[in-house]
Symmetry: C2
Subunit: 144 residues, 2 copies
Amino acid sequence: MNEEEQVLIHCLYFTASRFARNITKLAEKTFDFGDVAPSYLYMIMIVKFHPGITQKELCHKLSIAPSTSTRFIDKLEKLKLVTKKMDGKQTRITLTDDGEEVYQQFRISLKELFSSYSKVLGKEFSKDLSKTLHEASNMLERDL
Amino acid sequence: MNEEEQVLIHCLYFTASRFARNITKLAEKTFDFGDVAPSYLYMIMIVKFHPGITQKELCHKLSIAPSTSTRFIDKLEKLKLVTKKMDGKQTRITLTDDGEEVYQQFRISLKELFSSYSKVLGKEFSKDLSKTLHEASNMLERDL
DNA sequence: CCCCTTCATTTGCATATACAAATATATTAG
DNA sequence: CTAATATATTTGTATATGCAAATGAAGGGG
């Protein structure tokens, strides 16, 4: 194995970005919700479990920047999937009935996505990898 | 653990994207090359090891779309780090002397990046995770 | 009650990245 | 050799995402 391959295999920045691109492609195929891209769906899910959550908490739970959350929420609001209510300096987000419905579909697609990649990567392997990535993110977010 | 956390931890699409964002942030801090963003550096490396490589092969090695490669190469050409030569319908890419120099610096930064995340995640853990992601990408690219 | 600081959100701008359509070149069938 | 097809690259357009600066709202000290 030459130096180049070594680097390509051992550099987490590279392998992680590449893997994320690959799995995103798969997710886009699976979550075919017209206007709602996969990343929005996670926001919907979190709002589902925390009605009235503040934007800041959302950012934290999703590990996204505040500006990104603003734009996500704007879009979801336009699609009438969430409502926004000012509360002092904070903004509180809640699902609409349409949002609830999208959430239900989302759960089904999620299972499909699971089985798509489990078929290729193996069920246990997928589960372990996901858990590992989750924990690694936590470590990075804590320590950097 | 509630349903929400389950999903957030077990969905590879989510954990992989999040992890990629976190590690990218770290890479951006480490690779401070002014105009050259981290993702370009891998292209430089591959060209270094395969002078005269075609654009298509580059796309394959980096797992990026052709359009992305066009824009990367354009930018690197403007920075005078690579040259482009038409060869029939293909385009062949080679490093310039400036490109070689950037490559040398890149190798140093790469080591820094390694040690940054190894400090947080552990050396062996990082290595294993990277290798796992590499292999998982290969599987996804082969089977989908 | 007003000013200053602090914190949450938004806006402006920039980058990475993709897909689909357009273009350019090469190859093959007739 | 020309027409049709195949392949590589480019361009138009769109999305996700971030940082830094601007804005807006709260609360404390005078």
